[in-house]
Amino acid sequence: MRWLALIWKSLLRSRRRTLLIVGSLVLSVFTVAVLQSLLTTLDSVTNNPNSGNRLAVRHKSGITQMLPRSYETYLRQQPEVETVCALQWFGGYYQDPRNFFANFASDETTIFQTFREEFGLSSITEAQVKEYLRDGAGCIVGETLALKNGWKVGDVVPLTGTIFPINPRLTIRLIFKSSRPSDENVMHFHYKVLEEGVPRMKGLTGAFWVRVHRPEDIPRLIDRVDRHYANSAYETLTETESAFNLAFVKMLGNISAIIQGITIAVVLAILIVTANTMGTAIRERGPEIAVFRAMGFSASRVLSLLLAEGVLLVALGAALGILLAQAAAGGVRGALGAVMPFFADFEITSATALLCLVGALAVGLLSTFIPAYAATRRPITEGLRSVG
């Protein structure tokens, strides 16, 4: 502990330099933390702990091709299956096309059972569910979405269809709470609204969500369903919900490679800048180091003091950068969540923060070691000669 004061004093030796390098570090660590969090957010989409026993069945040619609703009967008959829910992305908007949120036409009878975890069923009463089931033009919305638009139960929400040529007017019958923000930015309404409004959708759906009793049964079921419909007029592609989501994340293409590339470049830049600054700081102190050693400090003691100084400097910058990123997370969530629903869950996880901190400390050690080592290896006499 008594060394800390000495290290702190050395850092404050040139306040301006310390301030500038810390500023540089804060901005760089901030950038890296935000960029890496974008990637981890995307990762978490495909690792939803709630989706372990759900499967998605869709047309083999892609999500824009439809499957017959009659497939539901076969799916329901499989012994592994608990329930099946037909789900179609409606892609409507409320008032402004930029006002993006996920809205689905879904089978109202099985939706609650299939997405049990997402709806936080414990806080929903039987009566509320009945209310929704009774009203054919009813809808259910997540709390975040309701708050954003100022909706209450009983309000009528006019949706404008983009994919489908109908503009349904839906009455909110239930506002649900969910553990993840992205799950609350969702609206569901009765499948009949779509089927009866759009003639070409009669008896068709984009996907089936299948809930199985036990996750172990999933591989077998996937295989059986796809084999059953192979070479039929509507071939299926069955996959776990995570794999289904992954397909959407993959659609971003090489963006994640670009993010990694930028991260590497930034880390390299910090390494160089920090090494340069620490080099200057240590060079300036040549005589002082010589005096220390003349007083009896061992070379390794001086080296560790210098290393501690570099590490403290970097730790300071990294900690501030991470804090800044935490503070900005809300803004990122709002801005990107409006473009892609996944990013509504954007957060700087403690794992990412830790990674940044550890990475920064490594940078600090690495960049200080070379100049510090060179300084402690210089003969004392040479250093003392330049004492003014």
Partner: protein, 409 residues
């Protein structure tokens, strides 16, 4: 924009003064150059850090440019696209056959010896395997022979065009390599049958370079479509555009809307917007970091040369000359970084990448193109860093009290 201009104004004025000072004052530029050379390690490491930031800047610029290039240059002034209202993209639109017949004989539509210049088209997306083992949605466009004639930017490169009724497709040259299945002479499986790839085309950087093309009836049959998606028409005269749009809007039988082809493509360019915004933010933040680093180096350079500055002053150099001299040193330092960084960015040149446009729900292929213009922007960017990062240290150098400077600090 105005704000940016106001912010840039003092910088430009300062730069002009610096250039003028170079001519009018005796600036010891050779001395500055030698100083940079003498502190090689420090100079190089600062330049390297700046080079990395400038490299990122140029690559991000080329990414944004590549994405928007994938959409512009499409569309003619005298062509209009007819879609279902609120569809917002061709994929979402449907036009029934009877409406198509009404539209094709519309008096405002241009006719030539073959018939009306109007192409009824169907747009679907289909999953295609990408080279990295994943699948991505690709737009498949079915069009009539007229549709090809109406898009002069699209040129056949190899093979021949598809023929109706034979399940043939042509693929863009740009998609080859990223999509291993799409080779001339090969075949793709769509809608339960095999389609021969009979030709490749070049789309002149338009969004068509991310689409697979085939005959409209073949595609409709394979994807079980009973209705078309859109209609592209050429009008007799570009000036009749508004009249045509109004006419379609007023026709109660149609319930469709028309929009200028160019306007439609403009909405597609929004796909690049989030990347652009994110990229600009990243570079803005990193610029701050680089400026701090440059400042640090220059402060260290000034602090180590107090005696030299004193000597310069004693020799008769005035304060503003010292300011200009040190400012030039900072600018040169950053310019080295800028040049290096722009060169570094060249490594990204030609790399092909793809992402999905959420406007069209399908893949967009684009290439990183590091143009001389982008590299010049990178160098100009480093110049700004030098000006901003070097100013305070240079100011300090010029204001050092003469007596103290002579003593050597």
């Amino acid at each position: 924009m105005i704000l940016a201009g106001l912010l840039a104004l003092p910088l430009v004025a300062y730069l002009l003064w610096l250039v003028w000072a170079l001519v009018a004052y005796p600036i010891p530029l050779a001395y500055n150059l030698r100083s940079l050379w003498q502190r090689k390690v420090s100079t190089l490491s600062t330049a390297a850090a700046i080079a990395l930031v400038v490299g990122i800047f140029v690559v991000v610029l080329s990414l944004a440019q590549g994405l928007s290039l994938a959409f512009v240059s499409s569309g003619r002034e005298d062509q209009a696209l007819v879609m279902r209202p609120n569809a917002r993209s061709e994929l979402n639109s449907t036009i029934e056959r009877d409406k198509m017949r009404i539209l094709k004989v519309h008096p405002l539509v241009l006719r030539d010896e073959v018939g009306p210049l109007a192409s009824a088209e169907v747009v679907v997306v289909k999953l295609f395997p990408v080279a990295d083992g994943t699948d991505t949605n690709v737009t498949v466009r079915g069009l009539e022979a007229t549709g090809r004639r109406m898009r002069p930017q699209v040129q056949l490169v190899e093979g021949r065009w598809f023929r109706p009724g034979l399940s043939e497709v042509v693929v863009p040259r740009k998609m080859r390599g990223r999509f291993p299945g799409l080779e001339l002479g090969g075949s793709v499986r769509m809608g339960g049958r095999d389609w021969a790839i009979v030709g490749t085309f070049d789309g002149g950087n338009s969004s068509y370079e991310s689409e697979v093309w085939s005959d409209v009836s073949d595609v409709m049959q394979a994807f079980r479509r009973e209705a078309y998606s859109t209609l592209l028409v050429r009008l007799q005269d570009a000036s009749r555009m508004d009249t045509f749009i109004q006419a379609v809007d007023d026709d109660k039988r149609l319930k469709l809307e028309a929009l200028p082809e160019k306007a439609y493509f403009k909405t597609l360019t929004k796909a690049g917007e989030p990347v652009k915004v994110l990229g600009n933010l990243i570079t803005l933040i990193l610029t701050g970091a680089a400026i701090f680093a440059a400042m640090n180096t220059m402060y260290a350079a000034v602090a180590g040369r107090t005696r030299e500055i004193g000597t310069l002053r004693a020799l008769g150099f005035r304060q503003r000359e010292i300011l200009a001299s040190f400012q030039w040193e900072a600018v040169l330092l950053c310019l080295v970084g800028g040049l290096l960084g722009s060169g570094l960015a060249l490594f990204a040149n030609g790399i092909r990448a793809g992402t999905t446009s959420f406007q069209t729900f399908s893949d967009v292929s684009f290439a990183f193109t590091i143009t001389p213009g982008l590299m010049a922007q990178g160098v100009a960017f480093s110049l700004v860093m030098g000006l901003v990062g070097g100013f305070l240290p240079a100011w300090r150098a010029s204001r050092l009290p003469l007596t103290e400077a002579m003593k050597g600090g």
